[in-house]
Amino acid sequence: MADADDDEPSPDRRRFLKVATCALGGGVGVAVGAPAVSYLLHPVGRRTVTAAAEPIDAVAVADLGADPVRVPLRARALRDAWTAANDVPLGAAWVRRDEKGGVQALSSVCPHLGCAVAFNKPTGDFRCPCHDSSFAVSGEYRHGPAERGLDPLPLEVKDGRVLITWVRYRVGGSSREPA
């Protein structure tokens, strides 16, 4: 039996249907949207790429001179989301003997926006190929848009080998914080 509304729809009933339709539709939207957002934001605040936290055997002290050399730092073991890989490059260090006879290792990551800096032998300084920041051989800031000098990497010398701990620092800004 058709009810009376089929012939003469009341405005109240129609209004109820409209509100109910929007509410139900919105409910489904939230029920999908809320889990979706937490799913998408899963990597935020998580360390999704992690390397074995140990100093990396980089180079022999005997091979170092006053000019810095670029040494790739490879992780013995790396976890990248689901993958476990071995012998994976993490980054590079510029390593040299400093004036006092010690060893100095600088991250090759430009503290401005993260390009890889290169040593320019004729001028004796580091140059960033992207935005022309330049740094003294000691890593000290010279000029350009960078706001701090190159980031030194923790190191130790053991049995004539330089062991470097890789740290990726946050780029930008004048303070040096691990990313």
Partner: protein, 575 residues
């Protein structure tokens, strides 16, 4: 001017909304018409969850399984999103079935809606193609083996079977190109085709309107018409919510889509397709040779052909089901045959206890693979390499290859080595019965004059000697006083005639210093013929060249672990 007016002046959205929403539904809104909207909703849900999955999924033979395991076991609510996508496909098949049933009962494929119907049949094909391509993407056992069957069928296409198969699977064998292909089809090609056809389907539906119940006059239909918005849309939304709640409930109930062990071409696996392909799967059991090809390729073509031809087979203007018994009978027979074959297939599986056992083993393997993947990551070599990350995996492989035949089982030639090896009980047995079967009984040495005689001590003295030998293993629970007493006895007893117990001095028997430690075992396994061990009396082959220091280390660590292990501990390594 309000913001709405400003916007309307530029977009004309009010008129567009009016056209889209306020068309009259002749004969009134009805729950009978909701399935099309439910399907559209499920399609949008599949697109949404599919896009979400793509944020984490990696279509490569080495990464696919690992990335899906990551979604399942590590990403926040990943199991839920993937579960919705997986079961959403089943929900679509059910909804398509109901939609088609309604259209067929109402005779909605009849003039002038034939093209709408044909597009619908094509969309049915696309949905099944989605299911087929999506099934492989996790690169797990189920997807791999079931899809192997599907591409195998394609390979039996007349004339150019090999070429068709190679084009589908991207080369001569399953691999990266298979996945990238299926992924591209699943994520780009099929959605584009579906989007286009759905748009045409909906536009044609709007052109002709819903097909009202048969036997009502035009005047009556017009009189009882109601607007789509909100009368019909409300009913549509209610149906969508019902479908959604059911889908969520099923997803939560099942714990999501599940994920089998990584695809392993060297394994045995009981390949089963999704439930909606079970009828076809079952049918293939009844045919072989050329007939099999005819059935496998012909049955879907025949079914599609009948559906396509339906508007021609059933041409009368009358839509009353009573006057269309032939057409309804054909469709019903098709549904019934499909249902029956599906039932037989599930029934056959349910009454096969051997299959249940294999499935339980497959489930156990899947759980193990996922546990290892979560704990250790998936090696870059791919999903199946995850097993190699288990504790002592490499050592046990080496053991099986190099050691087992002489140190385990009935045909062995050397001392038995297993759980409890070098613990106190083992040492006690060794001292009291060195030529016993579990010890050196099967060696040539035991049958020679140089065999070790049994220790002639008992009680507290034997305890002390046992403790002395046990202390050499470096175990943490050594009774130092008792061991010291053992050392005193050692020099009083004839033990010292054949055994040194310090440094690396050699004697006629093995030096006992550090016996049972990793360093000792590493050196011992490498070459038992060293002077401080058995010298020229050694019978075990040299391993040091064959295995190298890393593998010797692994074996030594494994044997040290065995000292405190029980048989149950060893079994648990395989869980």
């Amino acid at each position: 001017m309000s913001l709405g007016d400003w916007f309307n002046e530029r977009t004309g959205h009010r008129r567009a909304l009016h056209v889209a929403l306020e068309e009259p539904v002749l004969g009134g809104a009805s729950f009978v018409y909701v399935m099309g909207s439910v399907l559209l909703f499920l399609l949008v849900l599949q697109a949404t969850t599919g896009a979400l999955l793509a944020f984490y999924y990696s279509p490569s033979a080495t990464d696919a399984w690992g990335s899906v395991a990551y979604i399942e076991d590590q990403v926040t609510l990943g199991w839920f999103i993937r579960g919705l996508h997986h079961h959403g496909a089943s929900a679509m098949v059910i909804a398509v079935g109901l939609h088609m049933l309604q259209v067929i009962v109402y005779g909605a494929y009849k003039r002038p809606r034939e093209v709408t119907w044909w597009i619908g049949v094509m969309l049915l094909g696309l949905i099944l193609a989605f299911a087929l391509t999506g099934y492989l993407l996790p690169w797990d056992q189920t997807g791999y083996w079931a899809t192997k069957v599907a591409t195998g069928i394609a390979g039996e296409t007349p004339v150019a079977g090999q070429e068709v198969q190679a084009a589908l699977q991207g080369g001569n064998e399953y691999g990266n190109l298979t996945l990238t292909r299926f992924y591209a089809l699943h994520v780009f090609v099929l959605p584009a085709l579906t989007f286009g056809l759905v748009a045409a389907h909906v536009l044609l539906f709007r052109k002709h309107g819903a097909t009202p119940r048969w036997g009502r006059s035009d005047a009556e239909l017009a009189r009882t018409a109601q607007p789509f918005w909100p009368d019909q849309l409300f009913r549509d939304i209610v149906a969508m919510v019902v479908a959604f709640v059911a889908l969520v409930a099923w997803t939560v109930h099942t714990g999501g889509a599940g994920l089998d062990a990584p695809a392993d071409p060297s394994s045995n696996f009981d390949a089963r397709p999704e439930w909606y392909f079970r009828a076809l799967f079952q049918m293939l059991k009844y045919f072989s040779g050329p007939m099999e090809t005819v059935v496998a390729l012909g049955a879907p073509v025949l079914a599609g052909g009948v559906l396509f031809a339906l508007p021609f087979l059933d041409r009368g203007a009358d839509r009353s089901p009573r006057r269309r018994l032939l057409a309804l009978g054909i469709v019903l027979a098709g549904f019934a045959a499909t249902g029956l074959l599906t039932f037989i297939s599930f029934q056959a599986d349910a009454s096969d206890p051997a299959l249940a056992e294999r499935e339980a083993a497959a489930e156990k393997l899947a759980a193990r693979a996922r546990r290892l993947a979560k704990a250790n990551g998936v090696p870059a070599a791919g999903g199946t390499a995850v097993y190699a990350t288990a504790p002592f995996h490499r050592a046990r492989v080496l053991w099986a290859q190099h050691c087992e035949s002489c140190h385990e089982g009935d045909d062995r030639k050397g001392p038995l080595i297993g759980p409890g090896y070098n613990d106190r009980a083992w040492i006690r047995g060794m001292l009291t019965d060195p030529s016993g079967d579990a010890y050196f009984g099967r060696t040539k040495l035991a049958k020679s004059e140089e065999a070790m005689p049994a220790a002639e001590v008992t009680g507290a003295e034997l305890d002390a000697l046992v403790e002395m030998v046990y202390a050499e293993t470096g175990a943490s629970d050594v009774d130092a006083k008792l061991a010291a007493r053992g050392v005193e006895l050692f020099s009083e007893q004839p033990c010292g005639d054949c055994h040194e117990r310090t440094g690396d001095a050699s004697s006629s028997g093995p030096n006992l210093a550090g016996r049972g430690t990793v360093a000792y075992l590493k050196s011992f396994i490498g070459d038992t013929g060293q002077a401080r061990f058995f010298g020229e009396k050694h019978e075990m082959p040299r391993m040091v060249e064959e295995l190298g220091p890393d593998d010797l280390q692994r074996l030594a660590e494994w044997i040290v672990w065995l000292r405190t292990a029980t048989p149950a501990d060893v079994e648990r390594l395989d869980d």
